[in-house]
Symmetry: C2
Subunit: 213 residues, 2 copies
DNA sequence: CTAAAAAGTAACCAGATGGTTACTTTTTGG
DNA sequence: CCAAAAAGTAACCATCTGGTTACTTTTTAG
């Protein structure tokens, strides 16, 4: 029966996402996934072959969620590039907060030298978010609102770093800055600071001649 | 014999650092550490009690290396806060590049919810680097080179994010921006962009009223 | 030189691991 | 209704896990 198998598959994937995102590939236990999903272990192997395949399926399904972001960002369209960038940051921050398993899976992948990330076509999803930012920059440049010297790749790296790192390293950062970064207030302040900084950077033309590189 | 035991201890720690930083707490195998260090497994337990203690010792020893940074940063003293900040970024970037095991251990810790980070007095080492940056900001404010509105905590978060994330997420970022971030050129460009951005942010007074937060 | 303490070792253990097999139950198409 | 295909299950296996024990060798101090 199709429906039943679909449900079983979904149950396995859901439990596997929990387990893999919590403990990573090595730490995850198939027995645990079987127990949590209430699905017999042999069935997991029938559906997904082996542990590695299951992990890759989880990775793919988690990354899929990024795709929705592009439409969200484009939907929040506005003539002012400042507000577009501001909206972009809001949406990305919100996504990271709402998808802790995404954050963790990306971390695991990097610790695994992006082994599975590269193996599958996972990185295809990158386009969605990259293109959205690129478009903002291109439009702003075209209408001469920001100088051509602004490097959209550096902008992207900064934006990802400031957003992603806030969540990925929250536990150690909390200790470092001695503030509860999980609180709504901390997050609001952080988002504002990131926005201010990026806009200041773009206003300055993306480079600062007073600082020799 | 003291010397011999010291050597053995060091061999175990060295192999354990490799193993733990590569595979994390769960993935690391005591058998592997024993094999690599050429030290009998039972001896490892005699020296370190259990796997958890050994992990914590590795964590502590890796964090110790941060302490050297403070003196380096202070040594690179200069009257201009811009050059101080510039030097700070150079030194921190260099540290992260030279200490991949540090980067990985911090990542593992965050995935483990900073369990061992909090358990030990590991976070004491934070002071060294935090204080160095704080001092730069305080001095610059005192001499009215930057406005009081600049928030040193946000500055710290940004600096750590931009530096740390570049190395921690290098594998996935490489796919995303389609550039070999491991190359010297990429790194130089990145450092310059980070410096420019932070200085632009500080010049702007640390906030941007044109962007409602 | 010697006895005690420290350093080091081989072999072992119970439990858990990923993965399989032989089997029963349920669903489906004709 | 019925046979074949799909879904699901219990019990099992070889291997590996962290950790221990009973033992020998080396070093040290008097």
């Amino acid at each position: 029966m199709q429906q039943r198998s679909e449900i079983t598959r979904a149950k396995i994937l859901s439990a596997a996402e929990q387990e893999f995102s919590e403990k990573g590939f090595y730490g995850a236990r198939i027995n645990e996934i079987a127990e949590v999903s209430q699905v017999n272990k042999a069935l997991i192997y029938k559906y997904f072959g082996d542990k590695e395949e299951l992990y890759q399926c989880v990775l793919l399904s988690v990354y899929e969620r990024l795709k929705d972001l592009e439409s969200q960002i484009i939907a929040s369209s506005n003539s002012d590039y400042r507000q577009k960038l501001s909206g972009f940051i809001d949406i990305y921050f919100q996504f990271l907060e709402d998808n802790p398993t995404y954050v963790r899976m990306v971390m695991w992948e990097n610790l695994n030298h992006a082994k599975y990330f590269k193996a599958r076509q996972v990185n295809k999803t990158k386009d969605s978010i990259i293109k959205a930012l690129d478009q903002i920059v291109i439009e702003a440049k075209a209408s001469h609102r920001i100088p051509d010297s602004v490097d959209s790749k550096q902008l992207m790296l900064t934006l990802i770093a400031c957003s992603f790192n806030y969540f990925s390293n929250m536990d150690t950062l909390t200790e470092i800055v001695q503030a509860d970064l999980r609180s709504e207030e901390s997050q609001r302040k952080r988002i504002k600071a990131v926005k201010d900084m990026l806009l200041a950077y773009m206003d300055s033309g993306g480079c600062d001649d007073r600082c020799e590189g």
